[in-house]
Amino acid sequence: MSSDIDRVKGAILSIVRAEMAPLPYFARYECRVVVQNADGTLELMPDDPKIPGLSGVRIYSGIPGVTVTVSPGARCLLEFAGGDPSRPIVTGWEPGDAVTLSFNGGDQKVARVDDTVDSDSDMARWIGDVNTVLKVTGNVIGKSDLSTPSDFGKVSSGADVLKA
């Protein structure tokens, strides 16, 4: 009798399992980045052994125009868009794992408050011109010679919206 009941339970469990089969594709899985390809996609190794290693997975950063560059070993979250096994995507990251974030394909560095403003060759030439004037006009400000500063202080204000 008990084997008959176990068999019935097994049959019911099989039916339930079959109906629930798509559910694992709606979960999110922690992964390690093996390497980032030149096209920005990722080679991933999930922590869960029931998920295979994946190749060429796209990153959905969640912000329009943002491109993410990461180092091997970065930790991310894998999910399947719409629960579709044919649409794996990376949608999340552990804090501190981005090498670069670029916006709309830009490649210029972003300045922040307290970053120094460097002097450059144009400024050096201007200082030289000022020195020439000082030598001609004499001791106007108590100095007859100016030296080119290494920097011109720090960025004092920035946008409230973007922080880095």
Binding site: A18, A21, P24, Y25, G53, S86, P88
Partner: protein
């Protein structure tokens, strides 16, 4: 009336042939027969069914066995694997081969050419993996054939060859027709008596043969 298991007569048979899925049979043998195991050939009224013994034992009087079509592998868990840029036929074939099953050459070929940019198979039972692939390929039907291979495709509902039969009982609300035929040559996926056949069940003992035909429309 003739039913054999590995060329040996059986004392009783219940053979269920579904339109979707794996056929299975419960067989009782003769008292002196050995308990069957492994791959077997079930011959039922001229049709040979290639299957595998799922479980078997002996009662006080006779051996019995539950046999399933093909290799009986759909309940087996298979390893995770991912694919890129392949026709859906490859992951389907690999699911089947991983558990000893094989694709029937009679399967519809067009849906198997669906291109998958990605496919991620988790570590699941082969039947679940196959169901997910058939859903994405929009293959409406699959079943294990008598030869043990797996057919995939769209039904064409060919006309059944069974014309000589006697109706014993009918349950219209269940779509069930209980009939007797000397050679009950009706199969799921056929059109019989103007109706689409969903499941066929043969019940055989030494002195009685009954066939139940469930229809879909």
């Amino acid at each position: 009336m003739s039913v054999f298991l590995n060329d040996r007569s059986v004392s009783a048979l219940s053979l269920t042939l579904p339109r979707i899925g794996v056929w299975h049979a419960d067989v009782s043998l003769l008292p002196d027969d050995e308990v069957p195991a492994g791959k077997v050939t079930l011959e039922s009224f001229g049709v040979k069914y290639q299957g595998t013994v799922l479980r078997s034992d002996r009662t006080e009087t006779m051996p019995f066995a539950r046999i399933v079509g093909g290799a009986g592998g759909f309940g087996t868990e298979i390893p995770a694997k991912s694919y890129r840029g392949t026709d859906v036929e490859l992951p389907i074939s690999e699911v089947l081969s991983a558990v000893g099953e094989s694709l029937s050459p009679a399967s519809d070929s067009a849906p198997l050419r669906l291109r998958l940019p990605f496919w991620v198979r988790m570590q699941v039972r082969a039947g679940q993996a196959l169901a997910a692939l058939l859903a994405v390929a929009r293959v409406p039907a699959w079943r294990v054939l008598a030869d043990g291979t797996v057919w995939l495709g769209t039904e064409t509902w060919p006309q059944s060859k069974l014309t000589d039969f006697h109706v014993l009982a009918q349950d219209p609300h269940l779509g069930r027709h209980e009939i007797y035929a000397v050679e009950p040559s009706v199969f799921p996926g056929e059109t019989w008596n103007g109706m689409h056949v969903s499941v066929v069940e043969h019940r055989f003992t030494q002195d009685r043969l009954v066939t139940n035909v469930w229809v879909e429309s």
